[in-house]
């Protein structure tokens, strides 16, 4: 396949678009906030299955509200008769809370009820989990920066970090816009996105560096364009196979993995976009040329 798409001509438009979505994401994260799950907010989560599929969601809500548990959230979860209940963390939520909820529901709904999953996270643990999640994401960004810093020139490091922030912030921003739940598995997804996005960026950067040396007469725009085109086939194929795997999890993997796989799908799409339209333009911004490479090249290549 001989592709020759003029990507660099679209850099400007793409950058404006990216900046716009980036700012919107930040605004949403700051002002609308994130919908933290019980992992990070504390509280109780119950996944229940009732044998009576006629049970109404409002009946469940009503009988839980009668217990004065504070903020209660009920939603359907997968199959008919499956529900997910979330109860706000309250001081003095005791060991009896879960059996009490079960008793109340069985009495009020007149159905056999099976608690398939119960999660209960205390306020202290949830704040620790949030903290370690934030540390993990920051640390992974720092580790990537460090890796790129020893492998490439500083202009490349900045480019890849800009692309990483772009991907992470926009993914989280979309979660904020859609009010999707942020829990431990979303943190795992974000970290994987960091890895994936970096992977994509590195492949293009590797090629740009090679081409800068090979075609010294080309300017950075032309080199970036050439490199993106040369690696485009790989970029698309890898994205497609990864997305195929992720779609398979999203559709067939069950409710528990849905948020995780959705975040990953978003991340792969945004990550692929950013390595072409964010990471490469940064090099153009810094006016990278084959001269930039010379000094360092000799030291690094074994």
């Amino acid at each position: 396949m001989n592709r020759n798409i003029n990507f660099s001509a679209k850099f400007k438009l793409a950058n404006i678009l990216s900046l716009f979505i980036f700012i919107i994401s930040i605004l949403f994260i700051l002002f609308k906030g994130l919908n933290y799950g019980i992992d990070f907010k504390g509280g109780t989560l119950i996944e229940l299955r009732s044998n009576n599929t006629n049970v109404n969601i409002s009946e469940i809500r009503a009988s839980l509200n009668s217990m004065n548990l504070g903020d209660v959230n009920v939603k359907e979860f997968g199959k008919k008769g499956d529900y997910l209940i979330k109860v706000e963390a309250k001081a003095g939520n005791n060991n009896e809370l879960i059996p009490e909820i079960k008793k109340t529901l069985i009495n009020n709904l007149n159905a056999e009820i099976n608690f398939r999953r119960v999660e209960n996270v205390g306020p202290k643990v949830s704040s620790e989990l949030l903290q370690s999640g934030i540390i993990a994401i920051s640390l992974s960004l720092a580790a990537m920066l460090f890796y790129i810093w020893i492998r490439f020139e500083w202009q490349f490091s900045i480019g890849s970090i800009v692309a990483l922030f772009h991907d992470v912030i926009i993914t989280i921003g979309i979660f904020s816009i859609l009010s999707l739940e942020i829990n431990l598995s979303i943190i795992a997804a974000v970290l994987t996105i960091v890895g994936y996005s970096m992977n994509d960026t590195v492949v293009i950067y590797d090629r740009i560096r090679e081409n800068l040396n090979k075609h010294t007469q080309l300017n950075i725009s032309e080199t970036a364009n050439l490199s993106i085109n040369e690696t485009l086939s790989r970029t698309i194929i890898t994205s497609v196979t990864t997305l195929l795997a992720l779609l398979s999890i999203y559709i067939l993997g069950g409710e528990i993995l849905r948020g995780f796989s959705f975040a990953m799908i978003l991340g792969v799409l945004i990550g692929t976009y950013s390595s072409i339209f964010v990471a490469a333009p940064v090099l153009k911004f810094f006016k990278v040329s084959y001269k930039t490479l010379e000094k360092k090249e000799e030291k690094i290549v074994p």
């Binding site: 099976n114 790989r234 195929l244």
Partner: protein
């Protein structure tokens, strides 16, 4: 890059076979395993409970500081120190003294100091002294004193938690210390987590105390099992420490469930003396500050055994006996995190995990054949080998497979072909300029090597950090993702490269179609 020596080939496939062998171990007969290694299923897949318990050391510290009062007062008296305004607080003792300096010397003397022992391990005394204004002093536990109390309480709690869980008889429980205040408990395949939580949530401090209206030690007003308010002496006749056994039983006459207990020699003596002296009075059996029952003493009990009845169901009697047998927790435990998955949800998760794995795998395989024909087949063979090795390594490490871990495997399937794609695309480019096909393949592999490594190391970094910071199921994801990257590199750079070389070297020029 396409030349392999015989030793090379041999070692590539031997390593592959060695690792693959372990993946087969997961399918052997469970009862008679050849080598007892397999991938463990996480609690989210096999069902079970994860509990994180935290000790609450405040009541214990209060108790310990109170226990210092009598020896402290004795010491003051013996050394002719006059004290006044003695107040006992939750964490400290405050009083005023006529000679603060003398007290300081006494408190921090290393010789025969029963009040304030020196902890060699930390180079510190158990108690600390703060001198306040107007000759007031504050006696409190030092940092290391608190640490010692906390550590011994935690050790003791772990021991008692273990006894209680073992007594219930769940299979393969995991009980571990986490940090300096927490205990992690994992109970696979547990049917009724509420019962365990209930058992672990009680300190089970058992006391026998006389019911009395006025007493020199003072009284506590407690509520009995049938709602009666009783004044119970603060003096403890005998505590649960003197129990050597407790069993659920049925009362001969009423046929009600009861708990019968046996006392040690000391306990039997104390119990015998008290019941002899107080015939006709009532003896309250107090568990964690609540009266279980307060029977009248009809006759002296000197046999060293007795019975507790108190409107129990048989289950309650069984649990009470269990609690008494295991001993009291030194301090209350709070459940700060709980995650329980029912076995049916676990089965569903395994099913949906495997279904999505198979479908994802098939989609990727067809896509690769569509894109690369025979070399797609090579990439697919490498992918299958990759999966087998991934399971093999998980088995060698006896890692725990969780639902997110299965997602990690599926993701590996999607991302693993990347290495081969990078190589094949590179070869395609080289084929455009290079006349010799063999040469093109050779250069392709060499040039793609750095990029493939770069690209995979980034994901590996993410996996390592996730492993370090993640908990439970997420850790399982990090494990499969991380090992997946390593097996991917192996299968692309050794297995697939060798297969490719066989095809390239066999076919004639012009027949290669990438």
């Amino acid at each position: 890059m396409l030349n392999f020596s015989k030793i090379n080939i041999l070692s590539i496939y031997l390593i592959f076979l060695f690792i693959s062998f372990f993946s087969i171990l997961n399918f052997q007969n469970e009862k008679d395993p050849l080598i007892n290694k397999k991938v463990n299923l996480g609690l989210d897949l096999q069902g079970g409970s994860y509990l994180l318990l935290e000790i609450d050391s405040d009541p214990l510290i209060q108790e310990k500081i109170q226990s210092k009062v009598i020896p402290l007062k004795k010491l003051l008296k013996k050394n002719n120190l006059n004290y006044s305004n003695f107040t006992i607080n939750k964490q400290d003792l405050i009083f005023s003294l006529n000679d603060v300096e003398k007290f300081k010397l006494l408190l921090f003397s290393k010789k025969d100091n029963f009040l304030n022992p020196y902890i060699d391990k930390y180079n510190s005394f158990e108690l600390d002294l703060e001198i306040l204004e107007n000759n007031n002093v504050r006696v409190l536990f030092s940092k290391y004193g608190l640490l010692t109390i906390n550590n011994s309480a935690l050790k003791q709690s772990i021991e008692i938690v273990r006894r209680r869980i073992d007594d219930v008889g769940t299979k393969e429980p995991t009980i571990l210390q986490r940090g300096d205040k927490r205990i992690l408990v994992e109970l696979p395949g547990l049917k009724n987590p509420e019962r365990i939580k209930n058992l672990l949530g009680q300190t089970a401090q058992l006391n026998f105390r006389l019911v009395a209206d006025n007493e020199e030690f003072g009284v506590d007003q407690l509520i009995s099992e049938n709602g009666e308010e009783l004044n119970v002496s603060k003096r403890i006749v005998m505590s649960g420490e003197n129990l050597i056994d407790a069993q659920p039983n049925f009362n001969n006459q009423s046929n009600e469930p009861t708990v019968s207990f046996t006392l040690d020699r000391l306990g039997a003596q104390k119990f015998g003396r008290t019941t002899t002296d107080n015939v006709g009075k009532r003896l309250a059996i107090v568990l964690d500050g609540k009266i279980v029952s307060a029977p009248s003493i009809n006759e002296p009990i000197t046999s060293g055994s007795g019975m507790i009845s108190g409107n129990f169901s048989f289950q309650e009697a069984t649990d009470l006996a269990l609690l008494l047998r295991s001993g009291a927790l030194p301090t209350p435990l709070d459940v700060v995190e709980e995650r329980t998955v029912g076995p049916d949800l676990g089965e569903d998760s395994i099913k949906s995990g495997i279904t999505s794995l198979v479908i994802g795998f098939v989609l990727v395989i067809f896509f690769m054949i569509y894109k690369y024909k025979i070399f797609g087949l090579v990439a697919n063979l490498a992918l299958i080998a990759n999966l087998i090795m991934l399971v093999g390594v998980l088995t060698i490490l006896e890692a725990t497979l969780t639902l997110p871990g299965i997602a990690g495997i599926i993701l590996t399937v999607g991302m693993a072909v990347d290495a081969n794609v990078l190589i094949f695309e590179r070869i395609k480019e080289e084929l455009k300029t290079e006349k010799s096909i063999i040469h093109a393949f050779d250069i392709g592999y060499t040039k793609a090597k750095i990029t493939v490594l770069d690209a995979n190391i980034t994901t590996l970094i993410a996996a390592v950090i996730l492993f370090a910071f993640g908990s439970g199921p997420v850790k399982g994801f990090a494990i499969t993702l991380g090992i997946g990257i390593i097996t991917t590199l192996y299968s692309a750079y050794f297995l697939a490269r060798h297969l490719t070389s066989m095809i390239v070297l066999k076919k004639k020029e012009g027949e290669i179609n990438l």
